[in-house]
């Protein structure tokens, strides 16, 4: 009897326990599924973003060119000054020669509208480089107008009535003829990577914005990294534990959360109005972004300094190092990888900023590529914003392509941060 009782009791407990166990496993599985579902939703939105941008932007990496036969007749070059010659006239003459049946004024305007107005400047550059071509005939590849480019890439619908189209029927016929004779081709768009901003989409490029971003970020890095690391070392190793240190800590943590446009207002008030620095230059942009990135770097640097175990510090002091030697020779090198990743993340944030630069004048139409810290310039996110606001249809693909490049840089920088952190991380 006793034995039967003993075996019954464990069986009862086992049953109840087993039921509970099934419920537990089910709850865990549901929780896991919810987690996977959340990640799947996030990845879906990310996929939407990439697909919509890449689908609109990949066509921008090719540009349409038209080959025209140019007769560099000496009668156009009467004066000594090569820049005074009628280069647009040369382009128009060669187009008339290619399509001699075009007589009426309005039709001629449509014909001339097939090529970009940069064709004249292409010819001027050719003559400037080699004045001996005056008197000869050359085949020149010139940029097509942005409407022709959009039609060739399929962004304009051919089937809608002519009155609503920007490319008229006779222009379509000429484009088809040129294509059949291999005089119209799509080539890799080097202008996008080598030119500054322009109002004509076919001539617009991101090089000016990229150089502006480069100068601005260089200055930001040069100023924020030393100041941030020094501040973190002081707060972590040397600052006394009193109310002033607490106030400083609270302020730094708050500044990391301040909306970035406030730093732009600060830059306008102090750097431009009070110190008199020039507007729209990478110097002011770099200083404003330094102020914005400093809190991020200080917080990341402090975290990595804290992670160095006190045994290292005590061991250094134990063998006779002074406090400064202990910090610079022992603690700092061990904490540097963490500081590095924090800096890279801070720089990636600064690369994508537009709002603070609005107040200091870097949201502007600037054609010339900046050559120094004091040339007016703009940055890549601002260039994207300005192009997104332009009416020309061809700017849509340029905007998407510039976004792709900016995203590429950001992914690269954040990826580098993750990789470096994994590589140099020391697990105590």
């Amino acid at each position: 009897m006793k034995r039967m009782q003993n075996t019954q009791q464990p069986a009862n407990i086992n049953l109840k326990f087993n039921e509970g166990l099934k419920r537990r496993y089910r709850a865990e599985k549901n929780f896991q599924r919810m987690g996977i579902g959340a990640i799947a939703i996030a990845l879906t939105f990310l996929a939407f973003l990439f697909i919509s941008i890449i689908s609109k932007g990949y066509t921008a990496f090719q540009q349409t060119y038209i080959q025209i036969e140019v007769d560099f007749e000496p009668s156009y070059f009467t004066s000594e000054n090569l820049s005074a010659a009628d280069y647009p006239g040369l382009v128009k003459a060669s187009l008339r020669k290619m399509f001699p049946e075009v007589k009426e004024r309005r039709e001629k305007r449509r014909l001339y509208g097939l090529v970009s107005n940069s064709a004249a400047f292409t010819l001027y550059d050719m003559v400037k480089e080699n004045p001996n071509i005056i008197g000869t005939t050359r085949q020149v590849w010139v940029l097509a107008d942005d409407d022709v480019d959009m039609m060739v890439k399929g962004h304009y619908d051919r089937s809608i009535p002519e009155a609503d189209r920007r490319v008229k029927d006779n222009q379509l016929a000429w484009i088809d003829t040129l294509e059949q004779n291999n005089k119209l081709k799509k080539k890799f768009n080097t202008i996008f990577f080598s030119a500054g901003d322009s109002r004509e989409p076919e001539q617009a490029g991101i090089w000016g914005a990229v150089r502006g971003s480069f100068y601005t970020l260089l200055l930001t890095l040069a100023l924020s990294f030393p100041i941030g690391v020094a501040a973190a070392i002081y707060l972590e190793e040397f600052a006394p534990n009193n109310v002033w240190t607490d106030i400083i800590e609270i302020n730094i943590n708050n500044l990391a959360a301040v909306p970035s446009i406030i730093f732009g207002l600060l830059g306008l008030a102090i750097f431009i109005n009070f110190w008199g620095m020039p507007r729209s230059t990478p110097i002011v942009g770099g200083l404003v972004l330094t102020l914005m990135t400093l809190p991020t770097i200080i917080i990341a640097a402090r975290a990595s300094l804290k992670s160095v175990p006190p045994s290292i510090r005590e061991a250094a002091l134990g063998i006779g190092a002074s406090k400064i030697q202990m910090v610079t020779h022992h603690v700092l090198p061990l904490a540097l990888p963490g500081m590095l990743t924090g800096t890279i993340i801070g720089m990636a944030q600064a690369l994508g900023e537009t709002a603070p630069l609005l107040m200091i004048g870097m949201v502007a139409f600037i054609v010339d590529v900046p050559g120094s810290f004091t040339d007016p310039s703009t940055v890549l996110p601002v260039q994207i914003y300005l192009w997104a606001d332009s009416p020309e249809r061809a700017f849509t693909e340029k905007t998407s392509a510039a976004i792709m490049i900016l995203l590429g840089f950001l992914v690269l920088m954040n990826g580098a941060a993750v990789y470096l952190r994994k590589k140099f991380e020391i697990k105590w």
């Binding site: 040069a222 600037i366 054609v367 997104a388 249809r393």
Partner: protein, 348 residues
């Protein structure tokens, strides 16, 4: 620590030294102002930069009001040389300029810009009058049962406003209050429609402030949606929603005529010719203002002014007309070209 301190000190001194000469001599023209004039001024600036030896002018799009604030800051290289505006300068702004030393301002009208009420090509084009626009969009409208009194706008569909219009919900996407386009729209379209009611017209002499409030206040109950300053976004939204109407500049209609169409206002279609001849009523002049004191100091200013006022730029076949700006009649162009050549200032 030593190397860091050295690096920091050298970086700061470098920045100080390199800014000093830049402050003394600015060799590019600095322009601020209206976002409506921006697309046209940038074309002229680029042409000027390419064909002359001077640096391309830098143009910021700050809005007409913001532009005047910066412009009236004073005379000197740290202040802008030219400001673009989609409205004439106000007398309060002229006084503010004079108070800061900006006394000689040259006013240049460059052309006209049409404001279009557009919708998707998939829908039927609307035939509106300014009175319809006022009744559809104003916050307070005359009571149809009790003429002479104002009530909050009760109209929900276009058919309720005017029985000849289609029976679709009133949904208008337009610029926010910070935009010059909005100021121009309320003045030209809504005030133009409100004046058709005699008692509102009488208010103009009796109580100007109340009159302006009635004419210029747009309804806030959801029929008018502020779609931001990005006109490209408005065009995209119209394609997605054929029942909505959008308010934007003529250049956007011109560039997107394959997907959107403009509504008729007072039986006039928003075409280039109708706006140029003054038949289409919702169009406003565009200006820019120049500081005479800067003209001989900043290199290239005379060249830029000459480029802007040349026939090949602002004329009927000029490149600005290709971009969607409506040119002025011949006589006006001659008048303003002469003003610029002689640098005739306001008040002279």
């Amino acid at each position: 620590m030593k190397t860091k301190g050295f690096l920091l000190a050298s970086a700061l001194t470098m920045t100080m030294i390199s800014t000093a000469p830049a402050m003394a001599a600015r060799d590019y023209i600095s322009i601020v102002g209206s976002s409506t004039v921006y697309p046209f001024a940038t074309v002229v600036a680029e042409q000027f930069g390419k064909t002359s030896g001077f640096k391309t002018p830098k143009i910021e799009s700050t809005g007409s009001g913001g532009g005047f604030k910066l412009f009236c800051g004073g005379v000197g290289v740290e202040y802008p040389d030219i400001t673009n505006a989609s409205r004439a300068i106000k007398s309060s702004e002229i006084e503010k300029c004079a108070a800061n030393g900006v006394k000689d301002i040259v006013e240049v009208k460059i052309g006209y810009d049409g404001i279009v009420l557009g919708n998707s090509k998939a829908a039927t084009p609307l035939k509106l009058t300014r009175k319809d626009i006022f009744l559809a969009l104003a916050k307070d409208v005359p009571d149809p049962k009790n003429p002479g009194k104002l009530i909050p706008n009760p109209y929900k569909t276009w058919k309720e406003v005017n029985s000849e219009l289609p029976d679709i919900k009133i949904e208008v996407l337009g610029p926010p209050p910070t935009s010059g386009t909005r100021d121009a729209f309320v003045e030209l379209a809504m005030e133009g429609g409100a004046k058709k009611f005699d008692f509102i017209k009488a208010m103009k002499k009796a109580d100007k402030k109340a009159y302006k409030k009635v004419c210029h206040t747009i309804r806030e109950d959801g029929a008018y949606i502020e779609a931001g300053e990005n006109d490209n976004l408005i065009v995209q939204k119209l394609q997605a929603n054929p029942k909505a109407i959008g308010i934007f500049g003529y250049s956007f209609l011109d560039q997107n005529s394959d997907v959107i169409q403009g509504s008729y206002v007072e039986s006039e279609a928003p075409t280039f010719e109708n706006i140029a001849e003054g038949k289409y009523p919702v169009s406003r002049p565009l200006f820019f203002y120049v500081k005479k004191a800067h003209v001989d100091v900043i290199p290239g200013m005379k060249g830029y002014l000459a480029e802007f006022t040349a026939e090949k730029a602002w004329g009927e076949d000029g490149y600005l007309a290709d971009k969607g700006m409506i040119p002025m009649p011949d006589a006006e162009r001659k008048e303003y070209a002469a003003n610029v050549k002689n640098l005739k200032t306001i008040g002279m």
